[in-house]
Amino acid sequence: MAQEAHGAIYDLLAVRGVSRRDFMKYCGYVAAMLGLTEAAAPQIAAAVEKGAKLKPALWLNGGSCSGCTESIAQVDSPDVATIVLELLSLNYFETIMAAAGEYAEKNVDDTIEAGNYLLIYEGAVMMGEDGNTLLINGHKGKDILEKAAAGAQAILAVGACAVDGGWVYAHPNPAGGIGVQSFLDSVKVATPVVNLPCCPTSPEWVVAMVVQWLLVAEDDPATFLDKTALLAKNYRDNYRDADVTLLYPEYIVGSTIHDNCPRRGHFENGEFVTEFGSPEEAMGYCLYKVGCKGPQTYTQCPITRWNRSVSWCVQSGAPCIGCGGLNWVDNNAPFFKRLSSMRMGNTLGNVQPGSVGAVVGGVAAAALVAHGLGMKAAGRIGDGPPMEDMKVHDRKRMKKGGDK
């Protein structure tokens, strides 16, 4: 059985000062991330142990700020987590690899030729100026992605820019940044893509999905999607004028930030921060009145938290800006205002309802409305955060008759 498994992996762990106990604990943590029970930990350990050779992987940067690379450098329990990452042979990882220039390019070509690799893509796919907004040794960034994606067993699109173009997609940018799935649809590459949200993405989420791929890759990589608990979200890519379906790990996007927020109790009690830097801030009151997008943002940030779990945005005193949502800049800015108008473009991902209450389902919505109304009646919160005017971009485009 897996518990008795021994071999290359345990020797490797031993010289790295990691006990088997720590490793199994870590596998239990990963199991939770994948939405499995801790009983799955031995299977995870076994899957990782099985590989005599490191599984090859490429980490490519498109139109990125390297923030997701920085994020992965902040991974929790590095003595253990990076071991699992080190079980990958990251043959190309622009920000930390030794090689440069044609030596670096050769690593990509060799890996593609050998096959059976995982592709991790950070940053937007740059389409502007006929794809010349990103050039690497004369090759368009999008062409490099197309080639690497076609030969990969699976792709992780890490961070908001790789998911849907992120801020680079925001109107009216001529740089033309779009998401990996949308781009691959356009060039008819069917390699499975799993999307990891937020700007930057969470290192723990990346590690969890890498392990998931290791779990299935040895047996049958074709079952990667079937064996992973996923949620689909649809949106319209206005740059391509096409509908796109994105797959996300269910555990990561299954509930709102508001649902799991440690400040939720203050929300229920009608205790709000109304001014930054105030005593209410120090007391950890709810940030809804200063524009928090937690109620409409579906990520597990409050659970995973950031930087080895020391804190996260809302804990530090800032309202959530919804960077885990689709087209987050156009949809969520102005960040300190409540959203009033629906953005143009008939896309599920872009829907921003007239009141926060309408976006959350069931009991949570009822609670929001009840509290909002109740507290308004009591004169305690007024109307909540100020409503934004209609977005300037939307008004301009309405005058023009829409995007086209």
Partner: protein, 528 residues
């Protein structure tokens, strides 16, 4: 005559191409090209000023805090806000944590592999390694375990991130024992940079992309407990700087002394100044504002900036100050005789000007030699001039600060700056603890108007950053950024004068044009 190209330049943030013309093993001409365009300035139009704070920091995932501070300052300048004292102290701590993270990551994880060969460390004698560490005054580690770890890694035959590099280049001259020490510290530094970023997370929610230094001050209200969490992390990071980063730099330097003879560049240095003093005067910042024309100090203002696009892929007006600047992208083709970069040719006082730690340390050094006190009144703070003078002495070039204007000088300046900032950070935490004992410390102030023009000129770990904003009726109607690396990777300007990295490359030796390691070292020395 041969053209040698490094594209992609790896171990940097972003996408960069370096092309050099080599004659008789020497670079005779150079072209540096930024090969990515993302259009941030265009995205900002018609949005709210706080949106600029949150979005423009996404220009860089390695120095987002500095961008966010420059953006917030631009808005504060435009709307006439002076942030409260609590906001100033918190922002300085946040900026310091990012500086320390960035400098440690740069030296060990981005630059070191140009000098340190981890594969060569396999042949190190463990006892000799301990002896060398002791002699060099650098931090011991379990060198035997690290060697065993490396051996297991190498035996597997899959070198992962170390695959396919110039490892057989004659420029790798360190003894295997020093390679082993540096590799052990490479691994430990992975942990230490993460500790520095935990400070960022406590104050600003996460790294990268901080959340709290909003226009008007900060949304982070410290408690004594949180300051405790911050203080012990700063202590840990400072200990690593003093016991590894600085002694490692001094241990490696004697093996690469030829790097004091090339890689100097333009000799013009800009610092907007960083780490705000109580009087809010940029000239009195802990790393002060100033322009070094060589080793002679001048005043400088954001009005001294001009941007040229003759060799850049834009069809915007040229020779403009960013307050009137525009960004109209237009790709043509890569042609070193014509247009070859998405970087604009930014100039200060019409000079091709370097920014970054070397520039800041030179400017601070000149201020100190002119009588300025940079200790902040605290005992035990090692100031830039003290650090530079003692390092020059250690390298047997006492009294010759001009040696700094070189590849090795640029490497050393960054690490010395880390020591100064770490000293200050401890002073500032205690200052904030004291300030919190009063009752009138506040952290944020609202704007009283919604129209105006402003500029925030600040420093990121890698160089000078400035954001220019125009706000009309609460909406942004003008936004321009001169990012830190824009200075150093600038292409030629209207007069054909090369940018700072280009000038630093020209004259450098190239032992093997197929493996231009020296060019890679120079590029990395700017932390582009």
């Amino acid at each position: 005559m041969a053209r040698s190209v490094i594209d992609p330049v790896t171990r940097i943030e972003g996408h960069l191409r370096v092309e050099v013309e080599v004659q008789d093993n020497k670079v005779v001409d150079a072209w540096v090209s930024g090969t990515l365009y993302r259009g941030m300035e265009t995205v900002m139009l018609d949005r709210s000023p706080e949106d600029a704070f949150y979005v423009t920091q996404r220009i860089c995932g390695v120095c987002p805090i500095s961008h966010s501070h420059a953006s917030a300052q631009a808005t504060e300048d435009a709307l006439g806000i002076e942030i409260p004292e609590g906001g100033r102290l918190v922002r300085n701590l946040l900026e310091a944590a990012q500086f320390l993270h960035s400098h440690i990551l740069w030296f060990y994880h981005l630059a070191a592999l140009d000098y340190v060969n981890p594969i060569n460390a396999l042949s190190a004698d463990i006892a000799d390694t301990y002896a060398l560490a002791q002699a060099a005054g650098t931090r011991p580690a379990d060198f035997g375990a690290v060697a065993a770890r490396l051996a297991a890694f190498a035996e597997n035959g899959q070198l992962s991130i170390f695959t396919g590099h110039y490892w057989d280049h004659p420029g790798y001259v360190l003894p295997p024992e020093l390679d082993l020490i540096a590799t052990a510290h490479y691994l430990e530094a992975l942990e230490v940079q993460a500790v520095a970023n935990e400070i960022v997370a406590i104050i600003a929610g996460k790294f990268s992309h901080p959340m709290t230094s909003v226009p008007g001050g900060t949304a982070f209200v410290p408690t004594v407990d949180k300051l405790d969490d911050i203080l012990y992390r700063f202590v840990r990071v400072k200990e690593f700087i003093d016991t590894a980063l600085i002694p490692d730099t001094l241990a490696i330097a004697p093996f690469i002394l030829d790097a004091t003879t090339y890689g100097g560049g333009t000799g013009n240095f800009l610092s907007w100044g960083v780490f705000e003093a109580a009087d809010r005067d940029p000239v009195n910042r802990f790393l002060p504002r100033g322009f070094g024309r060589g080793l002679s100090l001048e005043d400088v203002s954001p009005d001294d900036v001009t941007e040229y696009v003759e060799h850049s892929w834009y069809e915007s007006g040229t020779g403009l100050n960013p307050k009137d600047g525009e960004t109209k992208v237009k790709f043509t083709e890569y042609n070193t005789e014509d247009k070859y970069s998405y970087g604009k040719a930014v100039r200060c006082k019409e000079e091709s000007t370097e920014s970054g730690p070397l520039a800041r340390m030179v400017v601070a050094y000149l201020h100190e030699k002119g009588g300025k006190d940079l200790t902040g009144g605290a005992a035990g703070v090692r100031t830039p001039a003290a650090l530079i003078d003692s390092t020059l002495e250690a390298l047997d070039v006492a009294g010759k600060p001009e040696v700094l204007v070189s590849l090795l000088g640029r490497v050393a300046a960054r690490n010395l700056e880390a020591a100064y900032v770490a000293d200050l950070a401890l002073v500032w935490v205690n200052e904030l603890v004291e300030a919190m004992k009063g009752t009138d410390l506040s952290f944020w102030k609202a704007a009283e108007k919604n129209t105006g023009d402003g500029v925030g000129a600040w420093e990121a770990p890698r160089g000078s950053v400035a954001h220019w904003i125009g706000i009309k009726g609460g909406k942004i109607d003008h936004y321009q950024v001169v990012a830190p690396t824009t200075w150093d990777i600038a292409p030629r300007d209207a007069s054909g004068t090369p940018g700072p990295m280009e000038q630093a490359l020209i004259g450098a030796p190239i032992a093997d044009a197929e493996k231009p390691l020296e060019a890679l070292r120079i590029a990395h020395s700017f932390d582009p």
